[in-house]
Amino acid sequence: MAADKEALYQQRLRRYVTAMRKGKPDRVPIRPFVAEFTSKYAGYTSQEVTHDFEKAFLAARKCAADFDWDAVVGNMVYVWTGLTEALGLRYYAVPGIELPGTTAFQYKEPSEEQAFMKEDEYDALIEDPTGFLYNVWLPRVSREIAQIGRPSTYRNNVALVKTAMAMLRYFFAFGDQAARLRSECGTVSAIAGILKAPFDILADKLRGYVGLTMDMVRRPKKVLQACEALAPHLYHVAKTTADPTKTVPIGYWMHRGCVPFISPAQFKSHYWPTIKPIVQELWKDGHQVLFYAEGNWDHHLDSFAELPDCSIIYHVDMGDIFTVHRKLGHKFCLSGGIPNVLLSFKRPEDVRARVKKVIQEVGRDGGYILDAGAIMQDDTKVENLRAMTEAGREYGVYSSGVSASIPEPRPVPPPPGEGMAALPPPRKRPGVCIPWEEKVKEIPQILGDRAILQRIWEEQEALGNMFIWQVLLSF
């Protein structure tokens, strides 16, 4: 049984990776990003899968096994509210607390006046992004953390310890989940690592969309400098959380940086020049990036086409997948293009017809992965997702054979002056909060091995740094 699952896993991994490298596998891989759909299917409430991640993991495995999907995300109900409550994060509406237990969690953007970063704080962010997050941002987003300079509290200390341990527990559990998806379901964990664009992060978690929009009028230069200052840190997080074997891609969650949320000129001056270098640099090392283009990014396809062949997988939500295919299909693998509205409100035959059309036109020559447009919540009808899966198998066959091996990435370095070299060097080193060079000055005398002290200090430093950036990016 275990051997069967391993053989199935290997077959699916080849199928999935071949498509991502723009090849033609034996058939179209099926990689649905199922979020609260899993809870509905497995008989849980939204509150159960959001608050008890073991249930979310179990529900994802149940779906993967029953639907025989090629790849899934270990848990697409990505915010574990056990952790967000331990830290007292203000920006989530939590199922079972302020939302009914049957409703999915939602992000609550604060009003412009209540923004987590104020309009006159750009210089502080630019000077030291990590320091700003710990010193200014964290006390504002948390109900538990005391402001710097105010007396520390019992609640403050307990919240930090609990959240840090909870985070490690959660991330380690993802490793287990990947292993169980493989051994129990023969299913591949679809992505590893996280990337967000500097501009998106400013809009989502720091200034808020409206605040940032006003800043783009009043202080566009500061916004650009902030994006440039964030970029090396976001690159560092992506690089250190990526799949070390470079097999599955890094998830890049695109949010507010598209027309009409911003103008084409703002995309060209701010958004693209501070995310493109990160993607180029990751690809230099052979890491593909999954552009999860939530909403409609069709206005920017020519910019995306500047990236090297196969460096990204481009996922289509509300964009026109046929237009995307014409513009990007010769360079990158595409995924998605099955509208969620169809999966939630229409009939299985409507879903089948759409899948057939997308596979026949977009998936004709390989380089296509079947998925819905956006993550699937509990309004997705089971019979419709089943129809999507079955139609994918029926219409997605290329040949009876299976590719013999996993294709290697063929990375290329960015042209001279591009990649991270295009951005100003970071003022503070990414991945570090209190550098060893500073710490060592406090130690009067080192009697033993200095190297081991430094190495172990820096390893714990990396954890301290990861903590705050992961709170910002993943929670």
Binding site: A93, Q106, V210, T213, M216, V217, Q266, S344, F345, Q377
Partner: protein
């Protein structure tokens, strides 16, 4: 004859301070506040909307123009009230129950206010009965419903059903919008109006009231 071109330019360019100054200057010169809206603010906002539809302006331009308009209304609202001037229409707006997203809804509210409408903004996660109650209290002509999630689109239908059950469907028209919402969905649930973008809302509300 007072020239409102400076005011129109300031609103169009989203310059709050210049718009407020132009409004004050016009009033000092004896301008009728009603004309200030109909010949100054509204044509400028309509032009921003047209530019948006043509793909020449984007949400940032809409937002800053709406801000400039708001600055003008803060000055003239008491004068309009004193004159007993009637708004372009009375609208009740909100994001439907279960949905906490409000960027699109806020933009629609700002644009409607800029278009001279009296808007009651109920915020987010609004239960159907609150729409019903407010529509009745405010004697609304239009109820505007917003949703970002496919999971909350059914709450639009529930709200329309509640308005019908309360006997208000003859009195209020319903317009809906939000990323996953379509004209077909509007037809299906019996909403009279659907706007693909926030910029469409003003024209839509005018047509529904006409």
């Amino acid at each position: 004859m007072i020239d409102f071109s400076g005011l129109r330019g300031a609103v169009l360019g989203g310059d709050e301070a210049a718009a407020a100054a132009a409004a004050r200057k016009a009033l000092d010169a004896g301008a009728d506040p009603v004309a200030l809206v109909s010949e100054g603010v509204s044509p400028a906002m309509d032009e921003v909307g047209r530019r948006f539809e043509r793909g020449e302006a984007f949400i940032p331009e809409l937002l800053i123009a709406a801000r400039a308009t708001k600055a003008v209304f803060e000055i003239i609202r008491p004068l309009l009230a004193k004159k007993g001037a009637r708004p372009a229409g009375r609208v009740v707006m909100g994001t439907v129950q279960g949905d906490l997203h409000d960027i699109g809804k806020n933009l629609v509210v700002a644009l409607l206010e800029g278009g001279g409408f009296e808007v009651t903004d109920l915020g987010v996660n609004v239960p159907p009965e609150r729409f019903v109650q407010t529509a009745r209290e405010k004697n609304a002509q239009v109820v505007g419903l917003s949703a970002l999630l496919t999971t909350t689109m059914p709450a639009m239908k529930a709200t329309i059903d509640a308005l019908r059950a309360a006997g208000l469907r003859g009195k209020v028209k319903v317009m809906i919008g939000g990323a996953p919402v379509t004209q077909a969905f509007a037809d299906e649930i019996g909403a009279e109006g659907y706007g693909e973008t926030a910029a469409a809302a003003v024209g839509l509300a005018r047509r529904l009231i006409a």
